[in-house]
Symmetry: C2
Subunit: 217 residues, 2 copies
DNA sequence: TCGAAATTGTGAAATAATGCACATGATTTG
DNA sequence: CAAATCATGTGCATTATTTCACAATTTCGA
């Protein structure tokens, strides 16, 4: 299940976070940025920024700061986002449809190359992006054939595991799962779960405790 | 013994996670559930489940397990999801539209009561759920008037802060921010950020290191 | 050229979170 | 009714993560 790594996983999450303001700095021709500035914009501690980067090398200049463009390039190289990744998506409900059209993904180098739905009546419908919805039974063949890198699951919970199995069959290596169920996966496939209502529940808990005057994190 | 003073925030996140399978158990008339079973379904350690619950009380029976229905009720009470929460959403692009229609939210007791867009040309358009899109300038008055609990931001990054300011003006207490920028907020408003491409980047990093034969989590 | 200011990189301390292991209490079985 | 079994609750050791604090390095101005 879990092997050893010396890189804390919160560090990876934050590297992605840092890249947002860095992109802005590059676009606005701000050549140099300090760990303090970056930390402020990302809501973290400056020492944290430096330590996160230190896991991978020395990218800054003491007394000066970091070259925004260079640091951004390094972070992209570290994360693996310096190349295009292809994605297929299973479950073309409202959420699925919106993700396929999502500009942020495209801008960051992700490209949707196939869209599936378990309900074969949706098959054939053409999406604004040009893709046509395919029946889920096509997944193994299509995904293998296209050499798709990542899968996104946006089916209802009860169908998530079935969608996942089809993706495993296609030998996919990573899945972003938006359904509310945990998917059981073989060793060779990495699953990242994003349960949107969990996020809302977090918010609600904090508001509740705040209102009740209880101490909170 | 209920000691609410120092609740780890991962615990809160997991409580929400536990409620999913618990709901299924209740629906399928499975009255008793063990920490081991629950842990397995959520991909965590059984001791973790017990410890998480122990922060809030003793809900199980030694040698037996937990009453699914009762535990679910308790978790909902703890999280504050035992009542309806009203939501307004700002940014009616693809993502915003899909969230408004999202069934999961409705099932969990969240209700959208207003939808806004900064582009006033979208105003007046009626959504499938019955709401009509309003211009963002209406936020302060409308949100206050309706006593909305939570805000969701689904605008492009560059407009996120502006959307947030309008929500602050309406005295909103919590915001779920889907844009790729960190929003600066006053003390009195809690922000939860959900950057979807950060999730993808995590996945990509793990795949990269896997491919390169590097040790990983 | 020197000293002050700025800012990184990092060892070590502090804090936080997890998981083990076992005492405890419930239930079942022979 | 005793023994075996099961599963919770929890003290404590372990592991993970964050933050501090300061030496090292660069820049700038007098």
């Amino acid at each position: 299940m879990t092997k050893r790594s010396k890189i804390p996983s919160p560090t990876i999450e934050r590297l992605a976070l840092y890249s947002r303001p860095l992109q802005s700095f590059v676009e606005s021709d701000t050549p140099i940025v300090s760990s303090e500035k970056l930390a402020e914009l990302c809501g973290v501690n400056p020492a944290q920024v430096r330590k996160d980067l230190a896991y991978f090398g020395e990218f800054g200049v003491r007394g000066v700061g970091y070259d925004a463009q260079e640091l951004l390039r390094e972070i992209k190289r570290i994360l693996g986002t310096d190349r295009e990744w292809t994605i297929c998506i299973v479950g073309m409900g409202n959420l699925g449809m919106s993700l396929v059209e999502n500009d942020n993904f495209r801008k960051r180098g992700y490209r949707f190359v196939a869209a599936f739905d378990l309900d074969s009546r949706k098959a054939g419908r053409r999406l604004p992006c040009g893709l046509a919805i395919q029946p889920a039974c096509n997944i193994p063949e299509q995904v293998r054939g296209l050499g798709v890198d990542l899968g996104i699951i946006t089916t209802p919970s009860r169908e998530a595991q079935r969608a996942a199995e089809l993706l495993f069959k296609a030998n996919i290596k990573g899945i972003l799962n938006f359904s509310a169920t945990q998917v059981r996966a073989p060793e060779c496939c990495i699953i990242e779960n994003v349960d949107l209502s969990v996020k809302l529940e977090n918010l609600v808990y904090h508001l509740e405790t705040l209102y009740k005057g209880m101490p909170m994190k």
